[in-house]
Symmetry: C2
Subunit: 121 residues, 2 copies
């Protein structure tokens, strides 16, 4: 469990630097020290284009909680920005799924049809 | 010193909630756990309008380091957003000074002429 957390953490940090290299201004909220307000893992902004990213490091399809989806939708509503679920499949790529394509919290092969890649960002 | 840090921290947290109440989506970077990339203390976004905020809790005029100013300017360049120095004077209000009005890092009474208040945000 600790191992998965560390790998997920490392992947997330790599994504931050990847976005920075692409010219984005990037900010990351660590797990600890969270304020009691909904916030995605990463905010990246490039020339007024903002993307809010929730990172998931998972080898298999997964389900997001209703609460987490609602928090992200609240963020989307306030900021009026793109909110993406970044699914990192171990030893494979990142897939960025716009939150509007996620139904009932299910993230699976079907959802990947609407995924963006890092080159699209 | 610890006391000042705590007061500054509390003030910063209050500002986060103030912005949230004004309808902003807000994210805060804690001091610890920073990624090795320039990042302001707070990012607030409301309907595509983004402000990046560096908080300073000081009873007297102060000077910001060249490095910190440059980091914030790099952020401004990438994100193309407003970057504000939020000066909280103890037992008084917050003053939000757009970074372009800060010369040689000096934040003082003179700079306050160009400051915004919370109502302007």
């Amino acid at each position: 469990m600790v191992k998965t957390y560390n790998k997920g953490y490392r992947a997330e940090r790599e994504l931050v630097h990847l976005l920075y290299k692409k010219g984005y201004a990037v900010i990351r909220t660590p797990r600890s020290g969270r304020i009691a307000l909904p916030s995605p893992d990463i905010i990246a902004i490039k020339n007024k284009k903002t993307i809010a990213i929730e990172c998931k490091y998972r080898s298999k399809p997964f389900k997001m909680s209703k609460d987490q989806i609602n928090e992200l939708l609240e963020w989307k509503k306030r900021a009026n920005c793109d909110v993406l679920i970044a699914w990192k499949i171990p030893r494979y790529d990142w897939f960025f799924i716009p939150i509007q394509y996620i139904h009932n919290g299910n993230v699976n092969k079907n959802t990947l049809k609407n995924a963006l890649t890092i080159d699209d960002l």
